[in-house]
Symmetry: C2
Subunit: 309 residues, 2 copies
């Protein structure tokens, strides 16, 4: 039998990459033949983590049906966030912490979702349930994902389970949680050398909401001016990508990880839905989202509700 | 806050009823306020189990949004198998062992599916993961569900985990697994006093397959003549129910639990798909399905594949 491929979502973030690595490692220890792969290149934060713990980046794939008939998904389930030919393979396992949508199987499967802040918090449980020891470097990657997804426990998606998991993993990884965590987050906020096109695609996901095709990109920064100094080029890039990909609506959410606020920039149709969903008034397509740091919990449900009314 | 309602699928079988009871019990021990309810009356097998272990039947409900905003689903996820107003409430947890289809949430949730023979095999794990003791009568109900869903371990859906769980639960329930199991199964095969309308609705589920609306009913018997002596009335009832409910295709699968074979009776359009899916030739709409006892594993995937070609 060919290897089972394990992967997170397109435009992978630290959790998407490292949960593929940790889940694949666990499955291989249990006697399966799996390989972690990626649906895109590493971002700078993830590259920092892999370099720090000396783990090679997973191979990037465009399609999977050419090399396997079975896949495991981590950190996502929605088809439009997955590999292009997902419909041609069997999804036998999913480990995730998002809503379930646009996902369907023909056969029974293993599906483990919990409403926690990070996929790796769930994978830590799976290691324990299966009595498999976590090596130091894998623990370090899992820790990095929890820090990344919860913004060092400041996101409203963060649960007490995520905090406890991070502490446990920091000990296994032999790092100081606070100082490693800050260094990791800072590594991901270096926007200086990114083009407008790169900025709006760095951590972008597509969603079906009602009959609308919505794209939501998020950028974490310590200074929002790092991004908005390029606003004109960014607006051009958004309008071009909406056109090229038939996105009805594009939201760019720029999150200040120190203040825990975001600024949203919205283009497309109906832009009014963005104002209604968040009770804001867009000025020149832009508004402050006070206290908003989580796309999953503070952006997607609100906008979905508005667009499916 | 109002009570969270916990329920299995419409036309409930033993697993649907008892997994609602066992999962609700577990959640209440963990400090939540939940109530197991049912989307239909007990079948005779389930009534036997509840009577044997002296547990009251759950209240039957037609709708849920009138009394709660949050529900937990067990033993199903597909909307057409769930309560009529499922779209009006939030599904916060699912414990299931079926394929995932026609299921979508706005928010992250707890979803635990495993490809095992019975929902209660998974719920046994949840009791252990949460360090909650299972009382004798709940153990007896959970055991009954495993016996029922696996036909005393003879179904191809049965895994070594189901067998181990059943043995463990039989000890807790203080019953002899083999003799209690046979008595339970026999209690469910008494078809003598059922009308044709009752027979085709006893354990029937609806499925979306491609653009077809498919209804698949299953009846477990020790003698198929118990059912086919009423074939004429059954055919009339099927044609009537197809008409009344806009079912494109109706399959009645009559399973001999001693031989582990089934006979399928198929009416509707395209009946040819049934022949292709199982490599059979229907004679007077009827054919033997050699070795077929599991709707979930040996009927639904094959027919779905044929109808989505």
């Amino acid at each position: 039998m060919s290897k089972i491929l394990v992967f997170g979502h397109k435009n992978p973030d630290t959790d998407a990459i490292t949960s593929a690595i940790s889940f694949s490692y666990l499955k291989n220890q249990l006697g399966e033949k799996t390989e972690a792969v990626a649906l895109g290149e590493l971002n700078e934060e993830t590259a920092y983590a892999l370099n720090y713990f000396n783990v090679a980046a997973p191979r990037v794939v465009e399609t999977v049906a050419n090399e396997t008939d079975t896949v495991y998904l981590v950190d996502h389930n929605e088809a439009q966030q997955s590999v292009a030919d997902i419909a041609e393979v069997e999804v036998a396992s999913v480990v995730d912490h998002h809503r379930i949508a646009n996902f369907e199987t023909t056969n029974p499967l293993y599906y483990r979702a919990e409403p926690v802040g990070c996929t790796n918090t769930i994978i830590l449980k799976l290691f324990k349930e299966n009595d498999v020891v976590i090596p130091k470097n894998i623990a370090g990657l899992m820790l990095s994902a929890i820090v990344s997804d919860t913004l060092l426990f400041k996101s409203p998606t963060c649960t007490s389970e995520d905090e406890a998991a991070a502490k446990e993993l920091a000990e296994l990884a032999e790092v100081d949680l606070e100082s490693y965590g800050l260094d990791l987050l800072k590594a991901g906020t270096n926007m200086g050398d990114k083009s407008a096109e790169e900025l709006i695609d760095l951590d972008a996901k597509s969603f079906s909401m009602g009959d609308k095709n919505v794209r939501i990109a998020q950028i974490n920064v310590v200074d929002v001016d790092d991004v908005f100094s390029k606003q004109e080029a960014i607006v051009e890039a958004i309008e071009q990508t909406n056109l090229n990909n038939n996105y009805d609506l594009f939201l760019l959410v720029v999150t200040n990880i120190l203040d825990s606020d975001s600024i949203v920039l919205a283009y497309g149709n109906p832009v009014q839905a963005v104002e209604n969903a968040f009770g804001i008034e867009l000025k020149d397509h832009k508004a402050l989202l006070k206290g908003v740091v989580s796309r999953k919990k503070q952006v997607v449900p609100q906008l979905t509700e508005e667009l499916t009314k």
